[in-house]
């Protein structure tokens, strides 16, 4: 399967990564080269084969007791955040219909 530059542009939006037009052709070429190397996966006879999602066979039911442990302080929680206000994480408007900026 091969990707078009338009498809790559759409993928970039889905992954929330800004791409400029001039980056698209090379990136599309790279991705398609990788896609070619994945071809063998489509050639195996796999009809009766169950998938293995996990390398440890028989790993089931790993749970913990419902016991609360101490949380971070608000200050710790916010310590790596680029923008905060009133103990909360501050972000730009979600919709584009206001002129507001920070």
């Amino acid at each position: 399967m091969h990707l078009t530059t338009e498809a790559v542009r759409e993928l970039a939006f889905c992954a929330r990564i800004e791409l400029h037009d001039e980056e698209l052709p090379a990136l599309t070429r790279d991705l398609n080269a990788i896609m070619d190397s994945l071809e063998p996966i489509t050639h195996f006879e796999l009809d009766e084969v169950e998938p293995t999602y996990h390398p440890i066979a028989g790993l089931v039911n790993v749970t913990r007791e419902d016991v609360a442990k101490p949380c971070l302080t608000q200050q710790e929680a916010l310590s790596n955040a680029p923008f905060t206000q009133d103990g909360q994480f501050k972000i730009p408007p979600i919709l584009a219909d206001a002129g507001g900026t920070r």
Binding site: C14, I17, L31, I34, L38, T42, P55, V62, N80
Partner: protein, 511 residues
């Protein structure tokens, strides 16, 4: 009392423990010698570290010395008492930044200790710093680091391999006694091979992944680098076992060093050793690697083990499966880097979408972006059934391959990498780069353990060649035993010649 860098760089873990026990030197002496060695080698030559933590190391050394002063044996301070250690910079260490070699995390202050970090610290190790890697561990040469190039101590014009290249180079150059790495498709074993040190990826589930920034959650495993099999085994003993914070971690007895002793004392006579001869015909396997590998097989036979020819019919598909599963899990794991709670953030976005898109575009490097986009595509509806689902079916077949192989043999041997370390900048095409991991990747798909053991220098390149020893799932003891026995037959330096040269010509530049 003090310790010279020349003495220090020759020390094994047991040398340090014994020296402390005999009161030949203190842990602070070790820490100071390590700091001095790093000062002479790091900035000008190797470039193995993203950040250094000398104060933390001295403080930890002080704690070890405190235990020893009270008359106790250093072993009471732990298995790694006074041992300088480095952590790949995708491992969270409180009091340090964890950058993942990415602009995205350049200023990120660790908010937890990774379990492998807290366990080794509890064992008395001295944290010297955080080592360089390919950005988010995506790569095989450490060249995709956003911050620096790490040079192979055996030849500074060459790469150390990757992604845990900083850890491998720091151990090979003697700056660290041991170091930790993470291995998703070969990221411990391949740089160990390139740098001529021992690198071990335990069976998936042996070491907790908690606190190690995830790349491929079903593939990632933490493991150690050292200049001997014993050092690697002792480090594994210090950090293996169940961790309530990682549902996939297992109850593992710390008996790795015990298996090393068994290999050293009892040898491997009668053990069955599997070889896939087809592997030597794989694309890109160089003559010097083939030669070194064959010599190793001869030594194994000389030790009394039986060589068994095997087939792993689905091994080829493992690469495709890996390049499907890896990017899918990576895309998912990297979704959290959204510029809100931590990480790179453009300051002037007018909408949240713009902030996401620009922060991620500017924060992530090209290889990371490639893999995220690939993962996004492979998981999209309609495509999922063509690639992701078959990849997990292939995983079943590969696991079955190994299962039946290990009914016939106790370990499998392959070269660690088809070739020795290449020059910085030599390989730029991603698909060619991916080929350096063809022998290591299948093990991550199946979850087994694998160790890279130095088996001499290539006849053509003069660079280290590594042998990969693979064991059955959760029987890493087989690996340790064979590695220890085989190691004893070689008399090859583990310390790169760079160290000697530099101690002969103080301040000299080996490049």
């Amino acid at each position: 009392m003090s310790l010279s860098p020349a003495e220090y760089t020759g020390f094994s873990v047991l040398d340090i423990l014994t020296g402390l026990d005999c009161r030949d030197f203190t842990a602070r002496d070790v820490a100071k010698a390590a700091i001095a060695t790093i000062e002479s080698l790091e900035a000008e030559h190797v470039g193995a570290f993203i950040s250094l933590t000398p104060e933390m190391a001295l403080k930890a050394a002080g704690n070890v010395d405190g235990t020893c002063v009270s008359g106790a044996s250093p072993f009471e301070a732990g298995l790694l008492a006074g041992v300088p250690i480095g952590y790949k910079d995708n491992m969270n260490l409180l009091g340090s930044r964890t950058t993942c070699a990415s602009r995205m995390m350049e200023n990120y202050e660790s908010m937890v200790n990774a379990t492998c970090v807290s366990k080794t610290l509890a064992a008395g190790a001295l944290p010297m710093g955080k080592t360089n890697l390919d950005e988010f561990a995506f790569g095989s040469s450490t060249e995709t680091s956003a911050f620096k190039t790490t040079h192979n101590p055996w030849d500074l014009t060459r790469v150390p391999g990757g992604s845990s290249g900083g850890s491998a180079a720091a151990v090979a150059s003697g700056m660290l006694t041991v170091a930790l790495g993470s291995d998703t498709g070969g990221s411990i074993r391949q740089p160990a091979s390139f740098c001529g040190v021992v690198g071990f990826k335990p069976t998936y589930g042996v070491v907790s992944r908690y606190g190690v920034v995830a790349f491929g959650s079903s593939l990632d495993q933490v493991g150690p680098f050292g200049r001997s099999v014993a050092d690697v085994a002792l480090t594994t003993d210090a950090m293996c076992g169940h961790d309530v914070r990682d549902s996939t971690s297992q109850n593992i007895d710390p008996t790795y060093y015990k298996s090393v002793l068994a290999g050293q004392r009892e040898g491997i006579k009668g053990m069955r050793v599997g070889v896939v001869s087809e592997y030597l015909n794989a694309p890109g396997v160089t003559a010097e690697v083939t030669a070194a590998f064959k010599e190793a097989l001869q030594r194994v036979e000389d030790l009394g083990a039986h060589i068994v020819e095997l087939e792993l019919p689905h091994a080829k598909a493992a690469l495709s499966a890996y390049y499907v599963i890896g990017p899918c899990e990576a895309f998912s794991n990297l979704s959290r880097f959204d510029s809100i709670r931590y990480g790179y953030c453009v300051p002037d976005a007018t909408t949240m979408t713009e902030q996401y898109e620009r922060s991620r575009a500017e924060g992530f490097g090209p290889e990371v972006i490639r893999r995220i986009l690939l993962g996004t595509y492979l998981l999209s509806s309609g495509v999922y059934d063509t690639y992701y689902y078959p990849a997990q079916q292939v995983r079943t077949l590969i696991t079955q391959d190994y299962h039946s192989a290990f009914e016939q043999v106790d370990v499998l041997l392959t070269p660690t990498s088809p070739r020795t370390a290449f020059a910085v900048g030599e390989v730029s095409d991603p698909t060619t780069m991916y080929l350096s991991d063809i022998f290591t990747i299948p093990i991550n798909i199946a979850g087994n353990g694998g160790l890279s053991l130095p088996i001499g220098l290539g006849l053509d390149s003069g660079m280290p060649v590594g042998l990969q020893i693979i064991g059955p799932q959760f029987k890493d003891s087989n690996i340790m035993r064979v590695a220890a026995a085989l190691e004893a037959t070689y008399d090859i330096p583990r310390l790169a010649p760079l160290v000697q040269e530099l101690s002969n010509t103080p301040g000299g530049d080996a490049r």
